[in-house]
Symmetry: D2
Subunit: 327 residues, 4 copies
Amino acid sequence: MYNIALFGAGRIGQVHAVNIANHPETNLYSVIDPYDVNANMLCDQYDAKRQSIEEAMADSHVDAVCICSATDTHADLIELGAKAGKTIFCEKPIDLDSSRVRDCLGVVEQYKVPLLVGFNRRFDPHFANLKQRAVDGEVGEPATLIITSRDPEPPPAEYSKVSGGMFRDMSIHDLDMARFLLGEDPISITAHGSCKIDPEIGKAGDIDTGVIVLSFASGAIATILNSRKSGYGYDQRIELHGAKGMLQVANVRENLVTSTSDSGAQDAKPLHFFLERYKEAYIAEWQHFVDVLNGSEPNCSGTDGELALRLADAAIVSMNEKRTVLL
Amino acid sequence: MYNIALFGAGRIGQVHAVNIANHPETNLYSVIDPYDVNANMLCDQYDAKRQSIEEAMADSHVDAVCICSATDTHADLIELGAKAGKTIFCEKPIDLDSSRVRDCLGVVEQYKVPLLVGFNRRFDPHFANLKQRAVDGEVGEPATLIITSRDPEPPPAEYSKVSGGMFRDMSIHDLDMARFLLGEDPISITAHGSCKIDPEIGKAGDIDTGVIVLSFASGAIATILNSRKSGYGYDQRIELHGAKGMLQVANVRENLVTSTSDSGAQDAKPLHFFLERYKEAYIAEWQHFVDVLNGSEPNCSGTDGELALRLADAAIVSMNEKRTVLL
Amino acid sequence: MYNIALFGAGRIGQVHAVNIANHPETNLYSVIDPYDVNANMLCDQYDAKRQSIEEAMADSHVDAVCICSATDTHADLIELGAKAGKTIFCEKPIDLDSSRVRDCLGVVEQYKVPLLVGFNRRFDPHFANLKQRAVDGEVGEPATLIITSRDPEPPPAEYSKVSGGMFRDMSIHDLDMARFLLGEDPISITAHGSCKIDPEIGKAGDIDTGVIVLSFASGAIATILNSRKSGYGYDQRIELHGAKGMLQVANVRENLVTSTSDSGAQDAKPLHFFLERYKEAYIAEWQHFVDVLNGSEPNCSGTDGELALRLADAAIVSMNEKRTVLL
Amino acid sequence: MYNIALFGAGRIGQVHAVNIANHPETNLYSVIDPYDVNANMLCDQYDAKRQSIEEAMADSHVDAVCICSATDTHADLIELGAKAGKTIFCEKPIDLDSSRVRDCLGVVEQYKVPLLVGFNRRFDPHFANLKQRAVDGEVGEPATLIITSRDPEPPPAEYSKVSGGMFRDMSIHDLDMARFLLGEDPISITAHGSCKIDPEIGKAGDIDTGVIVLSFASGAIATILNSRKSGYGYDQRIELHGAKGMLQVANVRENLVTSTSDSGAQDAKPLHFFLERYKEAYIAEWQHFVDVLNGSEPNCSGTDGELALRLADAAIVSMNEKRTVLL
């Protein structure tokens, strides 16, 4: 049984708390969060103790840290965890600043602790099925990849500043998936963006609509289609083509009821957002982290986190300078 | 080029007129209908002559008759056509009275003219594809067949009397399809009916909702699900099961546009009714009639027409006497 | 926290054990099963004690019993539980013999303990969504209900004897769903069956293919389509029609990947069997049992269990005597 | 009745010949093609005369010309038709050279004859339905448009030279659709291409895989996804997003049969290629040309043809120079 110290008791921390508690090999040992309400709720529910950062890092009963706190604390906590010899799970991103990420990963390397970065989509069973079949050659050599990712609703405009902008906050997942699914790093990136949904986002200097094209040395081309507002829930589709055919992952609907009437045949819309859509992915992700605790190589490393961020940075340059950026 | 005399210039007569005119081997030679407006319209449009029944039957230029007139004229026209040595296409049913059908088919047999009865669904390309694959063994030996047939809207209540009731008018198509698809005659029939849609139909002594179960010597069981009102267009589905799997024919939609919004994903409803849904089937049916003119065996004979009617009669007995009727 | 004594540590007992343990208000207190391997495995995993039937019934710490043992023990255990004042969850059926069921329910009534019978499909979120929308009038007054239930593979032929035959073992779920969804008891039943899949089942005196038609006083007609072998996993569909349209529940697929190639567009098949398909239903069912523990009325009572069994009995009479049975 | 002179009796000429002959207001008057076999076949079948170019242009009975000959003859025939005062239908493209197109359209303008350019997809009923609903505001202001167009099989490598390359030959349809659906001209274009399917195409200096991104002044972004080989027939999909939701047109399948077995649920693949997929579009296009003959404004003008070609030219520059081209 591994004792887990959970940093951050907010929305995503609560998701991990359930999965930590339900997993037969992990125990929610402590919760670290300055905000009393959330922290105490989790402690009560799962019989965990509250700790300060320092206590948790110094506690030899803590085997691993699960970092779900605010983005700007990730790199510091990773470094502290590494120095304390803990196995580390960290929600994406490591940091919004590439050089800070580089430094942080240097510390991780120095202390030789395993680090799993939480790009949750890699663990989605539908996408994993697509990837396995692609690797098995079902469509031939991959030629085109299309990733659709549309949020149900835009975040508050002020979030744009904290988040690093749509490409760094949202597209980063798709950039990671492109690398993950094609098993290859892109050689160029071209990004296009506009503000079509919420003028406040535009005023805050961000975009809400974007298209990113990645070119790969193999000749494969990946296209990422993003929006901050779908109008119909969380749109998460993937389509991969080769000369032998196409693999597609459809959206997960709220239910499987179809109602047919004079106005047509109506199916339920896609699940609302990531907590619903990736519920199974978060469980599989945690299972993988337990595998890492048991000695497996993390399948989403610090370097993966770093490279996705660099692609997001390059996308911003490409969009702003209206040119293709060579990588 | 075969000259065709068309009896009946109503809705279904007009469908056949187009197909006769468009087919490279047939010519719409004459139209026989006491109702001037429709008859003259077709004659003008296709450069055909108007004839009386007697003229058409006596005209040696007429190779074949296409009978689309009122149901109660079918048997008489078939007999006249047979005596005049014409090749005969007749819309279903031959007659609503089984013994009249028997007599009529006796005349056809005596004069040895080819007769094709127009059970249009046999010629639908989707159903034909299902049947071919069933015959090829794709699902193994057929075990269960489910035929769904729901009209968009009930006919006027008074139609119930003319039509012979829902089983004789509407289910007769499904009864024919059950025989056609399973390639076997049923050994028993059990029918259930009620009036759930239009009380006027009930007052007229008819039903608008029905379920018919047919048992076959092979052990196969066919279920027919009927309604006079779907609420969403013409519902025409078929599902065939064997130990190896299932073959299904879905409805044909009005278009292939899907609209996804906060209220769900909406597809177009099924095509409105038989003229739209079976447009291709009517063309294929006419092609088959040309094959019959060229010497092929009709794939839907007078006997097929007779047997479907007998099943409809037995269904009425079963429903009224609340018992399974052995055949 | 309610302490639960679990009777039966087999396949379905294990499903309930997980749900009992994961629910914040229930605790897997003890396991009662003569078979050591399964019982000890559950006790180890969930830190529960093993008890004998007598110990569990006499133990005042036991708040409720969860009966998942062999069918022929259900009625006895219900009676013991009732006499001991426990709240009772019992897997279907109460017994295969109607009069035994009647006696057993008499005891439950006498001791006034709550009893929830485990017709799991009532708790499936997709079916529940359909029912709610039907109740809300989305299709108008229900006219036709079609329930498709096909197992992936037939059970061993010898199981036919223990199970009471396909209608009592399998169709009983569909008979319950017909009552549940239409909110009405049928006035007649007509059943048809044959042995098309596995001749051994026929030799054992059972069927593997069946169609049941239920008529209701409202004029509604329900059709149940059963097979012991689908050839493609667990086929669990429901279709409800009224004059305003249709509500359908589709199968849950193994995944949402579609592979399109020269041979067509291939979707995953339905989930394999009930453990996979009704995973969420079992969780919701257990939640409802907790509600019952907290004072709610069971939404699937002993009488519901009894009535479904009577319908199954009547189906057998109908099939054997080839007649409609009035209820 | 309008007399039509058909230039070119090849594959696409034959499609138009049927539609001309079947339309009640047009007559296939003459066929102009140096290749005897095709020309005589059409003349025989539709009772048309063979003419030389000069004869047809000089023949006062000819009301309109339908130009389906080789691409490099289009501009000359348009000019001759314009000078002869004929109403002109011309298959795309007018010419592969932009300045030749400009000159040709100058002649058309000078002689004030109506010219309809045959971008067939504009007339597809499914796409037309999507466009109408977009115009009606169903998704709000258009933000992202995704056009998927994949051929079933690559053309022979030598075709690349004649065709002007994939962007000028194939993507030109999608570029036209982007303008047509968004009702707006793009302000920049960025194109990416590679040769992933057939190395011979690469040797011929062309690509077989491409992605084009168009930016519009409104902020809308259109993405075109092309391949010369889908592996599964003709992939023709459109997806339009706004803040209120999404409209999609799915592929038309070969049939509506689904076969479900242990290996999954298999639907038919998309219709093979443009002759099958756009059969209805060609009929609607011809109907529109008849409307033009009757005085309507062509809904796809010479300028539309010219602008699509310019976009294709700009796409080639963008791809070759790896930069966004401002328009």
